[in-house]
């Protein structure tokens, strides 16, 4: 079997598995549809959360980003894992005790305000659509690169699969397909990593391997890579180029944003008990950490491999994978000095006479994971496996996001807003229609991506960090926080963050450099400042406005203890 046949077989088998699960786990009530009947075991929820959270970006791009940024890539590694500590300690158990269906549900009830609910609905829909467009695009890209079908057809196939299990099974279908998708994606990620680690460091454990020594020469791998970077004029791999404050701010924005993302939060509504919510956050982080501690190892292996392969190599004798990826446009070589050799160098590179050397090779960061099996000469089935894994990562995240959109419409806008008398059956139909429409819109955005998809990911995290996180946290930890404080905090936090990002990303992108940034904080990290503004405004405004009603204070009292946690439907009935 060749690469193509392996890829079709493995992708086809994984899709058949997802459809089988969808048929098996149909949703019969709104409670099934929104929160999987609150019957998901903590271990299964941990796996589902991990798949929900790890998107095409985590699977395909992250190791590559770290590979190019070196130490600076740590912001993603710490930022996208540290948020789970905040979730487990500050949010998940209390939200599970409250027993809502959605995040706007909690915001609306805790702040006894339809305005707050609607603001939360808008944030949830915006954040989720931003994200889902990128996932659909990821599906299309994997299809086009590995199966040689056009991106559009790839997106439509992906839409069909998600439509099937998200519309039929709701949260219940999504949860158990996510469990399967986690298994597929982690297997697909680890197999090449283990092969690479054996080749480069002589140990099957990548986490140890990249801090190890070359098995033949005994030279430490990291030292070798730092040396290569020095010779080729790149900044040292183990120290970064970003300012310390910016690294601090980006890490914080990603951590807090993670804890405030609605599709992650609602996963903790699906477990039976408060204690299950706590432990499933722990399981989720274990499952995520397996990938996140492996990614920096792949980054070091792949970077070393790449530099040693292309460094001053004659263009005539490059390996086959080089030409193959050149065809996709992800690898471009222009021999500007006409010497037939590849000069892949950093900004500080000079030749023996002190004359700067021009870089001739551009490498797309996504290649690091996608082409790694070929670069390292791994068997064909591993290449097919990577394609199936990338699809699993993209589809699982897309489904979780689409559920947030559909429940925001059918539950928060209809049931709790415009049509409170809607029947259980009617609400379930509305939820399915909303999910179906959301899939189609997401597919459209995947085929015709707005030019700013990459930029708006920063916006999504910044928004979640500066809106949901402070409002939910204050709602649990201060009884005095009231409607006025929460709304004022959300609006100023989001407003500030969105304005700052819009200014540097869309309105005057030419000014997007460190000397123009406030306090040297990049748009990626500004959510941290937005969050602090939200906290400050909310606390100040609440001091000068009436305290919340007695019933709300009692509710806060009640969510602070685990005993008496009910299924979500009992509260909303």
């Amino acid at each position: 079997m060749n690469v193509q046949a392996w890829t079709f077989t493995l992708v086809g088998l994984s899709f058949a598995l997802y459809i089988g699960i969808a048929v098996w786990t149909r949703a019969r009530s709104t409670k099934d549809f929104y929160v999987a009947g609150t019957g998901v075991g903590p271990l299964a929820n941990g796996m589902a959360t991990a798949a929900d959270w790890m998107s095409a970006a985590s699977f395909i791009s992250m190791a590559g980003i770290v590979s190019f940024l070196g130490y600076d890539g740590s912001v993603y590694l710490m930022g996208w894992t540290g948020g789970y500590v905040l979730l487990a300690l500050l949010l998940a158990p209390y939200l599970r005790k409250f027993g809502a269906f959605t995040v706007p549900d909690f915001v609306g009830d805790r702040y006894y305000s339809q305005t707050a609910r609607v603001v939360a609905v808008i944030c949830a829909i915006f954040v989720s659509f931003t994200y889902v467009a990128g996932q659909m695009r990821g599906v299309g890209v994997v299809f086009s690169r590995f199966l040689e079908v056009p991106v559009e057809i790839g997106v439509v196939i992906g839409m069909g699969i998600v439509f099937f299990y998200a519309v039929l099974g709701g949260m219940k279908g999504i949860t158990y397909t996510q469990v399967a998708q986690y298994c597929v994606l982690i297997f697909a990620f680890m197999v090449p990593a283990i092969f690479l680690s054996l080749m480069m460091a002589g140990t099957p454990i990548p986490q140890l391997g990249f801090g190890g020594f070359d098995p033949s020469t005994g030279v430490p791998l990291i030292e070798r890579l730092d040396g290569l970077h020095r010779e080729l004029g790149f900044a040292a791999y183990t120290s970064g180029a970003k300012s310390t404050l910016d690294v601090f701010a980006i890490t914080a924005a990603l951590m807090v944003g993670t804890a405030g993302l609605p599709h992650v939060i609602i996963r903790f509504y699906t477990v039976p008990r408060v204690r299950d919510a706590r432990i499933s956050a722990g399981y989720a982080l274990v499952f995520i950490a397996i990938l996140y501690t492996t990614a920096p190892a792949i980054a070091v292996f792949a970077r070393t491999n790449l530099l040693e392969t292309v460094r001053d190599a004659p263009y005539e004798t490059v390996p086959e994978w080089f030409t193959k990826w050149e065809e996709t446009g992800l690898l471009t070589f222009s021999d500007s000095n006409q010497d037939g050799l590849i000069q892949y160098v950093g900004p500080d590179a000079v030749d023996a006479a002190g004359v700067p050397i021009t870089n001739e090779l551009t490498v797309d960061r996504d290649i690091m994971v996608l082409a790694n099996p070929e670069i390292s000469g791994l068997p064909d089935w591993v290449v097919g496996l990577v394609a199936a894994g990338g699809l699993a990562a993209a589809l699982s995240t897309a489904a979780g996001l689409l559920l947030v959109v559909s429940s925001a419409v059918s539950h928060d806008l209809l049931k709790r807003g415009l049509r409170p008398d809607i029947s259980e059956k009617g609400e379930l139909i509305a939820a399915r229609i909303a999910a179906g429409v959301a899939v189609v819109v997401a597919g459209y955005l995947g085929i015709n991506p707005p030019g700013f998809v990459a930029e708006v990911v920063a916006l999504a995290f910044g928004l979640a960090a500066s809106s949901f996180f402070p409002v939910i946290l204050l709602g649990i930890f201060t009884k005095r926080m009231n409607r006025e404080g929460a709304i004022a905090g959300m609006v100023t936090g989001i407003g500030f963050t969105a304005a700052y990002i819009a200014w540097f990303k869309f309105i005057s992108p030419e000014m997007n450099s460190a000397e123009h940034w406030w306090f040297g904080i990049s748009p990626e990290g500004i959510g941290t400042l937005g969050m602090l503004i939200n906290f400050a405004v909310a606390l100040t405004v609440s001091r000068f406005t009436p305290p919340p009603p007695r019933a709300v204070a009692n509710m806060v009292e009640d969510i602070r203890v685990p005993r008496g946690a009910r299924g979500a439907h009992e509260i909303n009935a």
Binding site: A36, A44, Y176, A180, G211, I222, I279, L285
Partner: protein
């Protein structure tokens, strides 16, 4: 009046708030505060603010510069550990203040609601 009652006299299904909910909450806040201090120290401290100073050392037996290791490996391991420590501490605290959810009684009612629990077979 409730404050004078010894713990052992509470009925397990008591609906009125036990007298020491305040103590329960303060202990919880202490746990959270301590664990978040460690969370901050390993990531923002060792991985960011003091990374250069720590890079002067290497992790024993490997070639990892210590600060770099904290930023790309160590902090993540500590995050995982922190959540599990919190789980153990809180389960114990819940039982001590009798606000836990019980082991089977509370869960069985809801387990019946869900007709499929496929994780058992996966």
């Amino acid at each position: 009046m409730l404050g004078a009652m010894p713990d052992s006299t509470f009925s397990p299904r008591a609906t009125d708030p036990p007298p020491d909910r305040g103590a329960y909450w303060r202990t919880n806040l202490r746990y959270v505060g301590t664990l978040l201090a460690i969370w901050f120290a390993v990531s923002y401290g060792a991985g960011i603010l003091f990374v250069e100073q720590l890079n002067a050392f290497t992790v024993p037996g490997t070639s990892f510069p210590l600060g770099f290791w904290f930023a790309q490996q160590g902090s993540i391991y500590v995050f995982v550990a922190l959540i599990f420590v919190y789980v153990v501490l809180m389960n114990r605290l819940d039982r001590r203040f009798e606000v836990d959810e019980g082991d089977s009684a509370a869960a069985s009612g809801r387990a019946a609601v869900s007709d499929a629990r496929p994780e058992a077979s996966s």
